[in-house]
């Protein structure tokens, strides 16, 4: 029985992709194989409608746990593959019945291969008759104890009862790459996860202001990214030395404008880095109204310094919803570790919630921020965070 056991992977929104569908499927197959590379005896059938993974004796639950985190998969079923032959289908259906616990059953059939001589209804009727003859079971089409699905496809027939939800979205990498502004708080890792789920590969940028910010923040980021390695196995973390810029802002600009100007500097740096690294957009965890720099007026004043597309996946999310995603993807406990980042240090007592563009430009003209930015970009540090179980020491 076990050598015909497969996991059937169904695609999410790929069915809307028309001509590109094949590329998406090949990319998804590549991502799946990469995530499952430790299971060397798995075999893959990559077909136009589904991907089939032959288990060859591996425990399906372990494989399933990995598949559930791969974006682009809608559903996964544990299937028995057999010849398109009524006797074989019948045998598998009989073997799925648990005589002690199942009192009722239901059969469902899909016949994708229209050349198969029996219609779906006829298949159901023949097999149901056999089950009724063999076991003391009744048919219940509303609340069956055992719900069996039969799919007759061109290449073979598949029988299954269990189907599991996948992550949805698109295969990672299918949407290109974006640069995410990662602070270490609760929001940015969630924004990152939502983008990856949508098929976008992520590079991360972090602004560090030592000694005002602690090195502990960087370790916190490593830990966060290790968690997110589940969805993207190699993540680049770009650390920008931001202390000199922050010092200059506080020396030359009024306190109430400090956050606005700091964010503008971060955007400018992010734009240059994203161009260098061929990222198609900048992503951050901003959510409208959450803090002074995230009012619509502030966001406009900040955003206007760059031309790159900025995506804010959390723009309209409530904090409680963001937290529940963070808990689900297991970044929350790391995010709440108490370290100060660039945004929480030097927090002014009364920041501007509606900073005027002209005022901000005036204050910025008081110091040579361009060379400070060039200097910061020259001194970035890039770390590759992977889930490879390398020796740490």
């Amino acid at each position: 029985m076990n050598d015909n056991l497969y996991l059937m992977v169904r695609f999410g929104e790929l069915n809307t992709k028309g001509k590109n569908k094949k590329d998406f499927i090949l990319l998804l197959a590549k991502n799946i194989k990469n995530s499952l590379k430790d299971y060397q005896y798995l075999e893959y059938d990559v077909l136009y409608d589904h991907i089939y993974i032959k288990l060859n004796g591996y425990n399906y639950e372990e494989i399933l746990d990995t598949l559930k985190d791969i974006s682009g998969i809608k559903k996964i079923s544990l299937v028995y593959k057999c010849e398109k032959n009524l006797d074989e289908i019948n045998n598998i259906c009989l073997s799925l019945i648990d005589q002690t616990n199942d009192k009722t059953f239901k059969l469902n059939c899909k016949r994708a291969d229209k050349s198969f001589p029996l219609h779906s209804d006829e298949i159901i009727r023949k097999i149901a008759t056999n089950i009724l003859k063999t076991y003391h079971l009744k048919v219940d089409v509303h609340h069956p104890d055992k719900n069996i699905f039969i799919e007759v496809r061109n290449e073979a027939c598949y029988v299954f009862e269990k189907t599991f939800e996948g992550a949805g979205g698109y295969p990672l990498g299918s949407g290109g790459k974006a640069l995410l502004m990662l602070s270490g708080g609760i929001d940015s890792p969630v924004a990152m996860y939502l983008m990856m789920k949508r098929g976008i590969k992520i590079d991360c940028i972090h602004f560090a202001s030592p000694p005002y910010t602690q090195v502990g923040v960087i370790y916190k980021l490593y830990d966060l990214l290790h968690v997110l390695n589940k969805y993207q196995d190699k993540i680049n973390l770009i650390i920008v030395p931001f202390t000199k810029i922050q010092d200059a802002i506080y020396n030359f600009c009024p306190e109430s404008y400090a956050i606005t100007i700091m964010r503008r500097m971060m955007y400018r740096i992010s734009e240059q880095i994203s161009k260098q690294r061929k990222c198609l957009a900048i992503v951050n965890g901003e959510s409208i109204g959450q803090v002074a720099s995230q009012t619509l007026v502030s966001m406009q004043t900040i955003n206007e310094v760059i031309n790159t597309l900025v995506i804010r996946p959390l723009a309209v999310f409530d904090k409680t919803d963001i937290i529940s995603i963070a808990q689900k993807i297991k970044t929350y406990d790391i995010s709440i570790r108490p370290f100060e980042d660039c945004c929480t240090i030097f927090t002014p007592k009364s920041p501007k919630t509606a900073p005027k563009s002209e005022d901000v430009s005036y204050y910025e003209s008081k110091f040579d921020w361009k060379s400070l930015i060039d200097d910061a970009i020259k001194n970035i540090e890039v770390k590759l965070i992977t889930n490879k179980d390398d020796d740490l020491i």
């Binding site: 425990n59 090195v215 370790y219 290790h226 297991k330 179980d389 020796d391 740490l392």
Partner: protein, 379 residues
């Protein structure tokens, strides 16, 4: 020297010893201190935990508490859990063949905290008596601790039926002393709420143990101090010991199949010899037990004399487990199998590792054959 006492302790791997030296030389900061050197060490310490959980193929909801060894881990699991959760019930179940640390911690709980300790019997085939288990478990049971592989005779216990029964008691915590199983059998440790492992049984050093436990479990500490390790086990975090334990686990699990093949050959050779000479020896281990441990009794010789004589010939074995040897020379595990006194008082345990060879098996057989002629029958 032929070292056939690997269930007592193993030879540390050189790369692990070297790593221990290197970490103490380079990464000696206190990981809980506040400078950046300490933070670096703390990060590595946390990563080490993750690597252990990943090597053991555990899902995210487990945590690692590093201890001084398996005895501390077992004591912490039993005493720490029971004291903290005594309001939930006052019965615990352990098997009669557990390691001394479980039996003595249970005894302590019974004497000091009035906990009712039930002892699960084993059947003559060595397996846990599931029917007996059903009569022991009840609504007041809060903890069950059953070892996964027996340290004296090598039985690999079948936990499936026990686990099935425990499904009806979802509040009962299931702990296992998995010391002799880690790196020797492929096993799904997600079955347990807590389990114990030890470094020096898998070619790392003494002083390294861990209790792996589900994150939501509440335990009282046995050691008090600076509240390290979630306040369950205080004491300066020891990166070198933690990391070496991690390395040893990683290597042991990765290499299970490779070493098992070799050890199985050694085991089978000696097993076959003992079986073919049933007039001289009584086998206490079965052929399908863990191949790393082989226990038998001399029918006509005193085991302590044979052990001494073998040792003089350079072959290191033991009569009963090292942790029971100070108490009594008879094996309570073999006794529990239902064997008679002359058998359970004269057991010899030989235990293997990846460093043993087939040639050593031949030498061992030659040595016992010679000794059989040289040493007088005593009984």
């Amino acid at each position: 020297m032929i070292y056939f006492d690997n269930a007592a302790s193993t030879k540390p791997d050189l790369d692990i010893l070297e790593k221990y030296r290197q970490i103490n030389e380079e990464l000696y900061a206190n990981p809980s201190s506040l400078n950046n050197f300490s933070k670096h060490c703390e990060h590595l310490f946390n990563q080490t935990k993750h690597q252990i959980l990943s090597s053991l193929n555990l899902k995210n909801d487990y945590d690692v508490i590093f201890t001084s060894g398996a005895s501390e881990s077992n004591s912490l699991a039993l005493i720490g859990y029971v004291i903290k959760n005594i309001k939930k019930g006052d019965n615990i179940i352990v098997s009669e063949v557990e390691h001394a640390s479980i039996l003595n911690a249970s005894k302590y709980l019974s004497e000091k905290y009035n906990i009712k300790v039930s002892y699960l019997k084993i059947k003559s085939d060595g397996q846990y008596d599931v029917e007996h288990f059903k009569t022991l478990i009840n609504k007041k049971t809060i903890l069950v601790s059953l070892m996964l592989v027996n340290n004296e005779i090598g039985t690999i216990y079948d936990m499936s039926k026990i686990k099935e029964i425990l499904k009806e008691y979802p509040d009962v915590i299931f702990h296992s002393d998995a010391v002799q199983a880690i790196g020797k059998i492929n096993y799904d440790y997600n079955l347990f709420d807590m389990f114990t492992l030890s470094g020096h049984k898998i070619h790392s050093m003494k002083g390294q143990g861990a209790l792996i436990l589900k994150k939501n479990l509440q335990l009282s500490p046995l050691i008090f101090g600076g509240n390290q390790q979630e306040n369950i086990r205080s004491g300066t975090l020891d990166l070198a010991n933690a990391y070496c334990l991690n390395l040893a686990i990683k290597k042991a699990i990765k290499e299970i199949d490779i070493h098992q093949k070799n050890v199985q050959l050694i085991h089978d050779k000696i097993f076959k010899y003992l079986k073919n000479n049933g007039d001289l020896y009584e086998l206490n281990s079965k052929i399908d037990d863990l191949c790393y441990i082989l226990n038998f009794s001399f029918k006509h010789k005193k085991a302590s004399v044979m052990c001494e004589a073998l040792s003089l010939k350079g072959i290191q074995t033991t009569t009963v487990s090292a942790c029971s040897s100070h108490v009594d020379s008879s094996s309570y595990v073999v006794k529990a199998l239902g064997k008679n006194e002359s058998i359970y008082k004269n057991t010899l345990r030989i235990s293997f590792s990846k460093y043993n060879t087939l040639k050593e098996a031949d030498e061992f057989i030659d040595a016992v054959e010679t000794l059989n002629m040289e040493i007088k029958d005593e009984r």
